[in-house]
Amino acid sequence: MSAREQAESVRWGAEDPSGLLEAALEGARADDFNCFVTVDTDASPGDDDGLLAGQPVAVKDSITTEGLETTVGSKILKGYEPVFDAYVVERLREEGATVVGKTNCDEFCMGSTTETSAFGPTRNPLDPSLVPGGSSGGSGAAVAAGHVDLALGSDTGGSVRNPAAFTSTVGLKPTYGLLSRYGLIPYADSLETVGPMTRTVEDCALLLSAIGGRDPRDSTSRGERKRYEPTGLDEPVRVGVIEELVEGSDDGVKREVRDAVSSLDDAGHDAETVEMEGLDHVVSAYYVLAMSEASSNLARYDGVRYGAGPNERGRYDEVFAKVRGDNFGDEVKRRIMLGTYALSEGYSDRYYRKALLARRLIADEFDRLFSKVDLLLSPTMPVEPFRLGEALEDPLRMYLSDVCTVPANLAGIPAISVPAEEGEAVGVQLMGPEFSEELLLDAAREVELVR
């Protein structure tokens, strides 16, 4: 049963919220894949009313939950209990859902495998020797393992879509500004957004409908609350296949994605090959911007209020350095240092400003492409899931595997990953113009129907 159907049953009184919560908690406590870093054993059942009546939801640990430990996979936030709910969590509760726990992620969302978490890696329910992708790997795995039907992730450069692809689930990165970021612990504010992660496109649409709405506490929030109910595509659409990204992928990925394209073509849609300019620069532009913002965002974790042991003494800068040195992991330190460098006097022109320029060019390129086609299609990940430990040894390879997902973040446009084949760890990514979520969800549903 989908979450949509289950919520319907709850509203009719045929299903009991406490029973649903109990089942979810049981799964979360067992948790063979280390999906959860915190399970809320005191959670109260959801309401019997609302869009998500009675639904247990897993929330990525990068999203604040009032009174429930929130660490973003970092030792420096161990024990931190936020005093406020994120806007999207408020919305979950208002729509009758309950938060069962916080899911594992790469430390401060910096990683594509959920292995940089200070609380150990999450394993892929499809094959426990593989990573679930990242950084929202805990959410992807929790859905794939069947602990929950609905999970929230956050996507800075692919962090929702990447684990969706690797765990064969659905993940949406909405238009920048559609969802409030209030309560999303920042890695790189200008790039990231909250995103729904589910087993089906229908549930993805349901979750998106529930958490939307304009929030005056986030000045970049521009979304309207809206009910999305994807049914597939009634009319033929023009789909631009970004050939360079398909061609650059591993064979298994290439094959699955080409199959999905053929299915769309067979269903009467107009799939054509397009060339996208500037793909050579997207990964470097993305990492320069993300790391620059991160170096500033993570400055607040300095031992004054987060991360200090009880006996830290000394000059403030010595204490800061010690606390940060002791508590941040290697990947986080690497990105803070690179970001600091990219913003430094004498270097920011060469790195930060150039990256901003590349970002504008990519956005222009999307505009050009969307004047020709309705949607763009590519693989979500150019590779199949890494073996555990593999990516940590070769961070550059991991960074490069973000080439398909980061363009949407640079341009702020929506992108969805839907499994090319049920149960296969290959995602098809669809991208659309700003605020084209409705079309995007219909198209993703179409992929589900025709694959």
Binding site: T64, I185, D218, V304
Partner: protein
């Protein structure tokens, strides 16, 4: 000639902080009671621009004759310091509220325009309280809107620095955007003398402090030059208590702030509506008011200048001048009232607090009226004013009780004449230079009037009467 530039930080009197809803009314509050997730920099909290802070900033820019910047942007200024909850400060950088304005100050005998390079908004950090072996943090101040006003290096003496700060403060008060509370205005100064490097002096917290800090620093640099050495480019800290400047650790001045645009605050577009609303919020300013006082009330330039130096005083004067002859009101307020208040170390505000502003206006009006109407003499007017201030009684009550009316004055004069007639010899003694003879004469008058005429009044009357014979 020293060259001085100032960077002034003034807290704006908005109801709430720059990026959150917390109240700015924290000056008497317990530490850390005016805080929320935003001004504590908690992860996930986001800043939202306070429109009224922008309006205040625009008003100040317009009042200082700045060009308003149409597209403004906030940046992050990144540096580590314990009073900064996020370890970056949100501040305007390349695109501030206003640029290229000026403030006219008195410089020597003439006036000079001190250029204002820029006016920008930023958030105030928290406050550190240093204890013997630990430091405490109070975030009540964190996120309070600050307006930074940066001048050109156009000042040439400590007095001018002080004058600039005073003028600026008056302007901000006129605009209703500033309240002179403890720590609400702070300044850093750039000082250099011919043949020396520029030295930055931080931590100036009053205009009196500014003058002292500048004087100390200039003297220090001159002495160095005399000894054959030269001031180095550095940042020094002014100690208000000892009045000296001390070098700060060099580490703190080598900062690279790694500015970049704050991604959570969209570009601000100042449209005509906003600029128009701000312009309406700019009232008549001190210089304009001074001009109007001269034209409308016919008062002297000196009086007009004194009256408009403080908004409170100018408002008070206008209320008095509405009811009585304006020139008489001006000279009484400036020459008598201010002197008597000053002597008592009483501010206008404090006097208002004591008796009520309306009453104060009424009483001052009454005194000027009685003077103008010839009901009391100049001398008794002074007496009345003193009693009004010291005892909080109305002028009419004082006049009544003391019999200081003109009839009373006539009687007093008569009494003095009588004493002069009866003690001609003593009068001659006094006139020939025996000052103590006057005491006897005064005593006679006081006794004869049964104390109704005070010794001071009697002595004044004798002075006046015997002046011709001297």
């Amino acid at each position: 000639m020293p060259v001085i530039g100032l960077e002034v930080h003034a807290q704006l009197r908005t109801d709430s902080k720059l990026f959150c809803g917390c109240s700015t009314d924290y000056h008497d509050a317990e530490p850390n009671t005016h805080t929320c997730e935003v001004c504590l920099g908690m992860p996930g909290a986001l800043p939202v621009m306070n429109e009224s802070a922008l309006d205040f900033g625009l008003r100040v820019s317009l009042a200082l004759g700045c060009e308003v910047v149409e597209e403004q942007l906030f940046y992050r200024k990144n540096y580590f310091y314990p009073d900064l909850p996020k370890n970056f400060q949100i501040t305007q950088y390349e695109f501030p509220v206003g640029v290229d304005g000026s403030i006219t100050i008195q410089a020597g005998d003439g006036e000079r325009a001190v250029g204002v390079r820029r006016v920008h908004l930023e958030e105030d950090p928290g406050r550190i309280v240093h204890m013997r072996n630990r430091s405490l943090l109070d975030y009540n101040r964190s996120g309070v809107p600050l307006l930074e006003i940066v001048t050109e290096p156009d000042m040439e003496s400590p007095e001018e620095g002080r004058e600039f700060l005073q003028r600026l403060r008056t302007t901000l008060e006129y605009l209703g955007v500033f309240e002179p509370l403890d720590g609400a205005m702070r300044a850093d100064a750039n000082v250099s003398i011919e043949g020396g490097s520029r030295v930055e002096v931080k931590n100036i917290s009053s205009h009196r402090g500014a003058e002292r800090a500048l004087r100390y620093e200039i003297t220090r640099q001159r002495n160095m030059l005399k000894r054959g050495s030269e001031a180095v480019l550095e940042t020094r800290h002014f100690d208000e208590e000892t009045g000296v400047t001390r070098p700060m650790r060099t580490k703190e001045e080598e900062a690279d702030y790694r500015y970049f645009p704050e991604p959570n605050l969209p570009l601000i577009r100042v449209d005509e509506g906003m600029a128009g609303a701000a312009a309406e919020g700019v009232p008549e300013l001190p210089d304009q008011r001074r001009e109007r006082f001269r034209e409308e009330y016919g008062v002297t330039d000196e009086h007009a200048k004194r009256l408009t130096a403080e908004k409170e005083l100018a408002d008070f004067y206008e209320d008095v001048a509405e009811a009585v002859e304006p020139r008489a009101a001006a000279s009484h307020v400036v020459d008598e009232l201010l002197g008597e208040l000053n002597y008592r170390e009483l501010s206008l505000d404090e006097w208002f607090e004591g008796v009520g502003r309306e009453t104060a206006v009424e009483w001052e009006t009454e005194i000027v009226e009685m003077l103008r109407g010839g009901e009391i003499t100049d001398v008794s007017a002074t007496d009345v004013l003193r009693d009004v201030l010291d005892e909080g009684r109305s002028p009419a009550a004082v006049v009544d009780e003391k019999g200081l009316t003109m009839e009373g004055a006539d009687e007093a004069l008569k009494c003095v004449e009588e004493v002069i007639g009866e003690h001609r010899e003593t009068v001659e003694d006094y006139l020939s230079g025996k000052e103590e003879a006057l005491n006897f004469l005064v005593g006679q008058v006081v006794r004869r009037s049964r104390g109704k005429i005070s010794p001071r009044e009697a002595s004044d009357l004798f002075d006046e009467r015997l002046e011709e014979e001297k």
